[in-house]
Symmetry: C2
Subunit: 214 residues, 2 copies
């Protein structure tokens, strides 16, 4: 077994432990992945506020450095813990296990794991999540699913964000959706503007359906 396979096998074993723990406590763990600056944190701030009183939400924030995202989530009203990866380019199952020990999400809650902004490395690492969401913004270009196929290949949902900017950029939503489905046939897609609020009912409906299935 080569080194990469060894690292991934060790991670997969720990991810299975996380997954069991989430199942036993009724926690819906969602791994959010994207390029830097696609709007994941803004989407989560809004989600925390809009689902307050309906679903308990907790957030594990991954970044190379800074605590700003966890502070933003706490200001929106949810539990949040920041995990800094230093030179690392992704979260792994161990970091998630340790973060959850500190975060202590309520039983029955939705746990969002906001991965390090990176369309490559996070794709390889199972964290024990129930679902993988890839967020991309319309400013990134519709070709991204073709250029970063590993990331899109394991997505359970593709969220196309910042549609409020569509009038000002050259972005073909239908082409982007078609490209995402070349990587992941039939994958669900939702178009939203996390800042303006368009399309968020679809996002919440998707979350509620997954949560109800636990």
């Amino acid at each position: 077994m080569d080194l990469e396979a060894h690292v991934l096998a060790a991670n997969d074993a720990l991810a299975a432990v996380n997954r069991r723990r989430f199942a036993e406590t009724g926690i819906l763990a969602v791994n959010l992945m994207s390029s830097p600056g696609s709007g994941k944190t803004t989407l989560l701030e809004r989600t925390v506020r809009d689902l307050a009183g309906e679903l308990p939400v907790a957030v594990l924030e991954g970044d190379q450095e800074t605590l700003v995202d966890a502070e933003r989530i706490r200001a929106a009203g949810a539990r949040a813990v920041q995990v800094n990866t230093g030179a690392g380019c992704h979260l792994d199952a161990t970091m998630v296990a340790r973060g959850v020990d500190v975060l202590v999400p309520e039983d029955g809650s939705v746990l969002f794991v906001e991965n390090v902004g990176n369309l490559v490395c996070p794709a390889l690492f199972d964290l024990g999540e129930a679902a993988r969401v890839v967020v991309m913004s319309v400013t990134e270009g519709a070709d991204k699913p073709l250029k970063y196929p590993h990331m899109f290949r394991t997505a359970d949902l593709v969220v196309v964000n910042k549609i409020d900017l569509l009038p000002y950029v050259d972005f073909d939503v239908a082409a982007c959706v078609a490209n995402a489905r070349r990587a992941r046939p039939g994958v669900a897609t939702i178009e939203v503007s996390a800042t303006r609020g368009d399309g968020l009912e679809g996002w919440y409906a998707w979350l509620r359906a997954l949560h109800a299935r636990l």
Copy 2:
């Protein structure tokens, strides 16, 4: 020596070979790094067209998959070769050496190496370039230099792109520049719109100055 240090030391040795080769042939090698979708390829298309007849330009394109970027550069009128990294998250000095063997840039030309879109991994790998340019777009948020400090720490120039979108996004250019300079004190910054053309004279002046110094 741990494995990461060993890999980086081997890469650094090959990067030194590349650097000597570029010096001997009067080639200005520029390593362009950014998030996915920041507009590197659009900036290069425009640069190829605008510098035609003044400076010979060649481009080594790095992506996980697809040949689309090299095709765009060729359509703009320059030599281009695509290097696909598969599951890999960055170019290394060996890939650049092999790519240059195929590309054969003219003596005295500007060689742009467009790295894989990723604000983490490419930062660690010297390719033998004369200068490192980090491109970021105003849609990504002004906090990115704080969250990805390794990338900005080695930048010789930060290009803030898509300023045509400033009226539609919440982005503070001065804060972004200040954040970049916390990572890299005194780093030069240029604000441009690669699609509309704003600020490109500053970019070309920076390139000409480096090229004249060879």
